[in-house]
C-alpha cells in the first residue's frame, strides 16, 4: 500500500514543472556550480535514466532518510520535519484526547437518557458542530478569548521568554480545544448509536434482572463494550484530524507540519509538498494499523488477518 502511494507521489513529483536537481541539492551550493558540474551531478543522481529506475533510486534515498531540500529556503526537508513534527503531534494528541473523552461521555449520556430533552439538545448541537467550518469556529474563538477577553494569546506556540511547559499550555488551550471540540460531534453520534446498540443486548437485560444498580449496568456492562467501536472510529477520524490540523495550525499560526504544508503549497514548493504529504499518509497508515491491533486486543471476536 505504502509502496503504491510512494509511486503515485513520485509520479506527481515527476510531473511538476522545474528541474529535479533543484530539490536534490542545497540551492546555495547549486548556484555556485558550473554547467558541466550540474550535468555531472544529473548523471550521478541518474536523472536522465528511465522513469522506473529513477523511481527506485529515489525510493532508495528515501529509505536512507534523504528527502531532498526545500526549494524555497534550502533547508533539508528532514530538518523541517524534525522541527515541526513534535508541535503537530502535541496538538493532535491533545485534540484526540479531548474529542474522544468528551464525545464518548456525551454520547453515552445521550443514549442512556434516550428521547429526553437533553438527548435532543445534544443531537442538534452535534449536528450544528459538524456544520460549522473549523476555521470559522477558530476565528470566533480568537476574537472572543484572545482579542476581547485577552485571556489567551492569539496564536503561536511559545514566547521567547517562556521556556517551561506550564507557560506553553496557555498557547495550546485554544487550538487544541477548537480542534477537539469540532471533532467531538462525530464521536458523540457514533458513541450514542453504539451505546444504544449495546443497551438492547440480552446480557444488559440479564444484568438488570439481577438487580444491579442502574449506574453499574450502564457503566460496567454497557459502556465498556460499546467503547470498542469508538476506538475504531479514532482510526477513521485520523484523516479528519490531519486535515483539521492543516486548517487550525494556519489559523493559530501553530508552527506544525500542517502550516508548513500550507505555505509549501502556496509557494509551489513541490518537493516539500510531496514529502510532507508522504509523511501524512505514512502517519495515517501507521495509526490505522495500530487501531487494528488495538481492536484485536480489546475485542476477542476480531482476529487479525481473519
Amino acid at each position: 500500500m505504502l509502496l503504491i502511494i510512494t509511486f503515485i507521489i513520485y509520479w506527481l513529483l515527476d510531473l511538476t514543472p522545474g528541474d529535479p536537481i533543484s530539490y536534490l541539492m542545497d540551492p546555495e551550493a547549486l548556484a555556485r556550480l558550473s554547467e558541466s558540474q550540474v550535468a555531472a551531478l544529473r548523471a550521478q543522481y541518474g536523472l536522465d535514466d528511465p522513469f522506473f529506475i529513477r523511481y527506485f533510486k529515489w525510493l532508495g534515498r528515501l529509505l536512507q532518510g534523504d528527502f531532498g531540500f526545500s526549494s524555497a529556503s534550502g533547508v533539508p526537508v528532514i530538518q523541517i520535519m524534525a522541527e515541526r513534527l513534535p508541535a503537530t503531534l502535541e496538538l493532535a494528541v491533545a485534540a484526540l484526547c479531548i474529542s474522544t473523552i468528551l464525545g464518548s461521555v456525551l454520547g453515552v449520556l445521550g443514549a442512556i437518557n434516550k428521547g429526553s430533552i437533553g438527548d435532543n439538545v445534544l443531537t442538534v448541537a452535534g449536528m450544528i458542530g459538524v456544520s460549522i467550518p473549523q476555521f470559522f469556529f477558530g476565528v470566533c474563538a480568537i476574537l472572543i478569548f484572545a482579542l476581547h477577553l485577552e485571556w489567551l494569546p492569539v496564536g503561536g506556540r511559545t514566547d521567547p521568554e517562556v521556556v517551561n511547559f506550564v507557560g506553553r499550555i496557555k498557547y495550546m488551550i485554544m487550538p487544541a480545544l477548537v480542534l477537539g471540540i469540532s471533532m467531538t460531534a462525530g464521536v458523540m453520534r457514533y458513541a450514542r448509536s453504539s451505546m444504544l446498540d449495546t443497551m438492547n443486548k440480552d446480557y444488559i437485560k440479564t444484568a438488570r434482572s439481577k438487580g444491579l444498580p442502574e449506574w453499574r449496568v450502564n457503566l460496567v456492562h454497557g459502556f465498556r463494550v460499546s467503547l470498542t467501536p469508538v476506538i475504531v472510529l479514532v482510526g477513521f477520524r485520523l484523516p479528519t484530524l490531519i486535515a483539521g490540523s492543516v486548517v487550525i495550525e494556519t489559523v493559530f499560526q501553530w508552527p506544525g507540519i500542517g502550516s508548513a504544508f500550507n505555505s509549501a503549497v502556496r509557494s509551489q514548493n513541490y518537493n516539500l509538498v510531496m514529502m510532507l504529504a508522504l509523511l501524512f499518509v505514512f502517519m495515517t497508515l501507521f495509526a490505522s494499523t495500530l487501531v487494528d491491533i488495538l481492536t484485536a486486543a480489546l475485542d476477542p471476536r476480531v482476529k487479525l488477518n481473519g
Binding site: L12, I128, I132, F136, A264, V265
Partner: protein, 309 residues
Amino acid sequence: MSTSSKNARLNRKFDQIRRMEESGELKKKKSGNRALRKLLNNRLAIIGGVIFLLILLACIAAPLLTSYSPKAVDMKSILKAPSSAHLFGTDKIGRDVFARVLYGGRMSIAIGFGSALGCAAIGVLLGCYSAYRGGWFDSLMVRISEVFMSIPQLILVMMLVAILGQSAKNIVIIFVICGWGSCFRMARSQVLSIREEEYVQSLKVFGLNPFVICYKHILPNALSPIIVNVTLSTAMFILEEAALSFLGLGVPMEIPTWGNILNAAQDMYTLQNNWWMWLPTGIVVSLFVMSINFMGDGIRDTTDPTQQG
C-alpha cells in the same frame, strides 16, 4: 353455530371496509408516498429544508435582492458598517458584502453540488458495474479506491491544487478525483447484496445484457442511500471549498465564494474591527451546511429502516 356467527362478523367487517373504500375514506388515508409522509413528520428535516430553500432561492434570485455587483469597487464607501444602503456593510475596497454573500453562494453551492454529483456519477457507474461483474475488475477497483481513501482528503486536494493550479473548474475536478471513493464503496456494497436477489438471476437467465441488468434493473433499487450520500457530500464539499479558499488555495480571489469572503478574517485587524465582513458570511455558510445535513439525515431515516434510533 359458532362458524356462522364468525362469518357474520367477518361479513360485517368486510362491508365496513368496502363502504369506507367507496366513500373514499380509505384512499385518502393512504394517498401520498409513505416515505414522503415520514419525512414531513421529521421536524428537523423540515426546518433544514426551509432554511436550505431560503438560502438557495436568495442566491438564485441575487440580482433581484441587491442592486450592487459583487465585483464593483467603490472607493467612496470603504469599510462601511451595515446600514440600510449596505445590508452587511462594505469591505476594504468598497464592495457590498451582502451582494458578495449572495453571488458567492451561487458559486459555492454550484461547486459543492457539482462535485457531489460528479463523485456520485463516477462512483455509481464504477461501483455498480464492479460489484455486478466481480472478479479481477472488482478487486482492482477496490484497490484503487483504497489508495485514494487512505490519503487524507484535504492533503490530496492541496497536493493537486499545487500541481494543477487554482480555478473554479480545477477545484471541482480535484474534488471529484478525491471524493469518488466513498460513493464507489457505497454503490458497490448496495449492489453486492441486490445481486443475489432472484429477479436478477432470472434476468440473467433471460440473457439480458449485463449493462442493462446492472444500470436499469439493479441501480434504481440501490438509489436511496446514494441520494443521501450526494446530499451529505454536498455539505462536505461546501465546507472543504470554504476551508481551501480561507487558506487562499481555493477559487481565485477575484471570484466571490463563501470561502473567499471569509478569507478576510485571517487579518487580525479586520477580525477585531470589521465584524460585518466575515461574521454574517460564516453564519450563512454554517446554516446552509447544517440545513443540508438535517435534510440528509431526514432522508436517511425515512428511506433506510436500519438506521433508526
